[in-house]
Symmetry: C2
Subunit: 104 residues, 2 copies
DNA sequence: ACAAACCGGTTTGTGTTGCAAACCAAACCA
DNA sequence: TGGTTTGGTTTGCAACACAAACCGGTTTGT
């Protein structure tokens, strides 16, 4: 297993980001700066409840901020990455790439 | 989101392999051809129950075979990838790499 | 003016996981 | 003979993913 150093550490990746739905949300936000509920809903083909809960978890983890504004008489909820969310995402990305490359 | 095609599909990655512990198990087996219970236990720093259950799931999914032999009076359980496990692992690896590269 | 439908989410309920602790049978040890 | 180690399996529980149901407010239709 000479090339396997890192596999054990891999079992400790950030599970908050590792979830594919949350990864996709983080990825969107990292590309767009900000996005609203409906955009993410469509872009990622999720149900509303599902999206809401994943966003909750990302907020609890301090990775995204939620900003509610009134726009054209309706509430509009915008999400964006926090600096720590951005850092965590990029750490995650790097460590995934490292482990994948080792097996290549 | 021009660069985001693939994020939605990412939410459908193979969850069996996506779990970090199972990914690590698959990775070990892909490097080693075969490994036994105790080796994986140490290499990945898992508890026995945890390892056993993850192996179960990989077996149910048809990704690994379990072979029990008697060795020096004791049972020895060996695991190895099935062809379909090997294929699934390599598919997973490629699709993860693709999605990570898009964000780079 | 009143109801029906819609919008933008949130809350609730349920089945599925991940995990470690407890357990177990067989071998070895004293 | 009783206890310990080896090599796991079973059990119990907390956390989670998910969709259905719900909800306050708004627009549409009549």
């Amino acid at each position: 297993m000479a090339r396997s150093e890192g596999l054990r550490e891999h079992t400790e990746v950030d599970r908050v980001i590792h979830d594919p739905v949350r990864f996709a949300i983080m990825a969107c936000l990292s590309l767009l700066e900000s996005a609203d509920f409906l955009f993410l809903l469509q872009e990622l083909s999720l149900t509303k409840g599902n999206l809401a809960q994943h966003i909750n978890k990302l907020e609890e983890s301090g990775f995204v901020t939620v900003e509610k504004v009134i726009r054209e008489k309706r509430t509009h909820t915008m999400y964006r990455l926090t600096p720590s969310g951005r850092a965590a995402f990029s750490d995650y990305r790097r460590s995934m790439q490292r482990v994948l490359e080792k097996l290549a």
